[in-house]
Amino acid sequence: MTAQLAAHSGSFAVDATTSLAAYSTSTGEAFQFWILGTVAVIGALCTVFMKKSVHSALCLAGTMIILAVFYLANGAYFLGIVQVVVYTGAIMMLFLFVVMLVGVTAADSLKETIKGQRWLALLCGLGFGILLCAGIGNASLNEFEGLAQANAGGNVEGLAALIFTKYVFAFEITGALLITAAVGAMVLTHRERTERAKTQREMAEERVRANKQLPPLPAPGVYARHNAVDIAGLLPDGTPSELTVISTLRERGQIRDVSDQAIKDLKAIEQRSEERLGREGHEERKGRAEEAAK
């Protein structure tokens, strides 16, 4: 897909060279813009309004890919690729990791807690957007010159030339910034152990004192038929123990209830045995009947 788009925009670049100051782009691009633009907007909206952060992340990723496409279409090939690789590939994945770490929280709900916040936000958003559009509208940018010569020596080379000459300092500084950020992230997430690690004995004693579960937590999934992680293990008396399921699933309420499962299985077993016994019985009767015929 990407390659095709690249080719597409390549064709665009050609007409760009023919007409330096163009007033409109190729219909193909227009078509692509309207389709993908719509999708991008929808994706953005979904990012905002999806209940679960995972979904938001996915929608955002989609939007970003579309943006990458637009970059390519605008002759920013390098950025387009970087967008896909760095953003969609790296950053969004980072997001997903964090989502996984944090798991589902009460914060996910879209229910507004601050009075009037939502309406204010929407109002501001609306006004802001309208004003922005108005601003662009009366900026009178109806003519534009393409990137033909700029990209003449190749887009990447052009960027490189600029980065390492004109913007070299900014470049270096961003490098420093990145490193700092990395270190900062480590510092923030790193947890210094302040006290000595407890020995097993101590932990055990603590548990006794707190009168908690003494033995290690029971393992989930005694019914190995399914993805057992979401099934509570059964205590000796047959009651399922929530403890055996990880907290994330618990909070999501995704524990599968197995109390009736056991009954169902029992039924199934009986039925099967029934069937087998029935067949045997039939033969017997047949046999008996033959005997009786003799």
Binding site: F33, T63, V102, A185
Partner: protein, 99 residues
């Protein structure tokens, strides 16, 4: 079609992202919205660079990405430690600025 439309799109996306920042409580989603806004800006830059026929716009967009990456790294780290400390990723819970 006129590349100005890209700008309109960028404006739209930016606004959506901004509203998202205001509406969502989950810090992660808020972050995503911020990313969305950044991307909108990038799009605008790229479109501008095309209009003016030079690559400076793209350079800026490039830098934006780098900075965004850094910002995300730190931001997420903050979120994680926040979650650790108060077992919630809601921005409203961190309302200690209140008098």
């Amino acid at each position: 079609m006129n590349p100005v439309n890209y700008l309109y799109l960028a404006a739209l996306l930016f606004t959506i992202g901004a509203s998202g920042v205001l509406i969502r409580r989950n810090a992660i989603v808020v972050f995503m919205c911020i990313e969305l806004m950044l991307n909108a800006c990038n799009l605008a830059f790229v479109a501008f660079s095309r209009m003016h026929g030079n690559l400076d716009g793209q350079i800026i967009a490039f830098f934006t990405m780098v900075v965004a990456a850094a910002e995300v790294v730190v931001g997420l780290a903050i979120i994680v430690s926040l979650f650790r400390s108060r077992h919630s990723a809601s921005v409203d819970d961190a309302s200690l600025m209140k008098l």
